[in-house]
């Protein structure tokens, strides 16, 4: 029968080994050769867009890369679906926006801010998401 000492060894040993493997895999998958994000395309404008995305907690309603709050649409591939003009109109409108009855806060972003956010979405749209990009964009389907 298992002794307490053996149980402790199992816990400490298992933890140590899995943590080391996890760190190794992290280093590997974030290395330059494994990049799926076109990291070199992250311009200052994209970073400003990301900053706006965060400081307004867009993820508190929307999802991006499948992460967020499921209250408002997924914004990965949103440019595919809506086009930049539509997105810019939504971002800059000073009047409350309620597509199909569900309200969005009227942020009234400036033109420049809207462009920053669109640059951010543009960068997101080109990331290789291991197949998820096909699922979230109705412009593509599972067959192609």
């Amino acid at each position: 029968m298992l002794s307490k000492k053996q149980a402790r060894t199992f816990f400490l040993g298992g933890t140590l080994v899995t943590f080391l493997v996890f760190i190794g895999l992290t280093v590997y998958s974030l290395s330059k050769s494994q990049d799926q994000t076109n990291h070199e395309n992250i311009t200052e404008q994209v970073v400003r867009g990301k900053n706006l995305w965060e400081t307004n907690n867009c993820m508190g309603c929307h999802t991006i890369l499948g992460e967020g709050a499921y209250y408002a649409p997924e914004l990965t591939k949103v440019i595919d679906r809506r086009g930049k003009g539509y997105i810019k109109a939504v971002l800059t409108t000073p009047v409350p926006w309620a597509p199909n009855g569900r309200k969005m806060v009227a942020y009234g972003f400036s033109n420049e801010e809207a462009d920053d956010l669109i640059a951010f979405f543009d960068w997101i749209d080109d990331i290789d998401l291991n197949g998820f990009e096909r699922i979230v964009s109705p412009l593509s389907n599972d067959d192609n």
Partner: protein, 446 residues
Amino acid sequence: MKYKSQKVAYWFFALSLLLFALQIVYGFIMGFARIGFDGLHEFIPFNTARAVHTNLLVVWLLSGFMGAAYYIIPEEAQRELVSVKLAYVQLISLAVVGVVAIVGFHFNIWEGRKFLEIPRPLDYLVVVNVLLFLGIIIMTLIKGKRKTTTALVLTMGLLFAALLYLPGMLPFDSQVTDSFFRWWVVHLWVEGVWELIMGGILSFLLIKLTGVDREVIEKWLYVIVGLTFLSGVLGTGHHYYYIGVNNIWLIVGGIFSALEPLAFLAMALFAVNMYRKGEKKHPNKLALYWTLGAAIVSFIGAGLLGFAHTLPQTNLYTHGTLVTAMHGHLAFWGAYAMIVLAIISYSLPNMTGRKLYESSRGRIAFWTANIGMIGMTVAFGVAGVAQVYLERKMKMDFMEVQNEISVHFIVLILCATLFGTGIVLYMIDFIKHGRPNDEALETTDN
């Protein structure tokens, strides 16, 4: 209660329950918004309600864990806490940080990263607060007469939880890397080190409630937390399938996260077996309900429902849908909310000297809250599955789908009302126990 300083736990539990009540209020705001009653939109838009709801959850659970540690560690280490004054300072600063963060969310002041919305300057205060807490706990343990496995696992869980908060504070220009390390905090907390905390509290409660030999319980505690890390650390990979990192995570995350239910199954079997083995009939049946309930419901919510969408083939379609909310609600409820309510139910009569555990109110609270939460989970599940088919398979527009599934949110609100009723009854019980007092010292043999 054997040590006067254990009383400080009462105030952490009181703060916990207060924040829990507020969390439920914000949950209702979101539920109603989903069926079109969004009259509060001007003041509390959905993203505010959501950030408040999830952050309150984290703060009230942490407050509950801290209260649990302040109650358990003196008894395990067989000495008073090294400083009660500092523990109160820590309590007040925790409450202040929590309240300031939540008020800020109403004024668009946040970091906007799911679950880690607290703005950066407050992050530093959280770190100071947690360091103070850990200092008190670890010094008490070091100076204590004995060092038990239960105390050690609980403290390790709390220490690792503090350390793992740090990767979430690293700034990144890439949304992908940002998300990657955000899961180091969120996943490794809830599917890693928090399970150590849960295991430690569970072990303490089982030792007290069943009378089974400490050596036996603690041996299995090691096995359970061993299984937790063995599966949970690499299981983090299930968050990395579709966020823009290497597809090696599809295999690693798929295999190891599929093993995660084993740790919860072991926890449930362990708790039920210890209860059956136990010869001691502890009069506090209510604490036993919550303890066994936590072990069983966490297996269903975190283990089984997590498994339901953890395989990459399934997650490809469920990623970013209400299916996640289905799993999230029962998992947090079973694994963490119920274990905090269990330690409160156990310790409250000991701290106040009032043994109200025979009241039917407590039992009604237990069943109402649990049935309500299971109903909510089913409502989220049905809505989520319908969303997956309509939106991801039929390629219907997001809002059209939302209108189709809004009926499930009426069910959700009804079930949440049942759940809320249970929690209100629990709180009435808490208040009826009165304040902790020194007369309760040694009046119990537990």
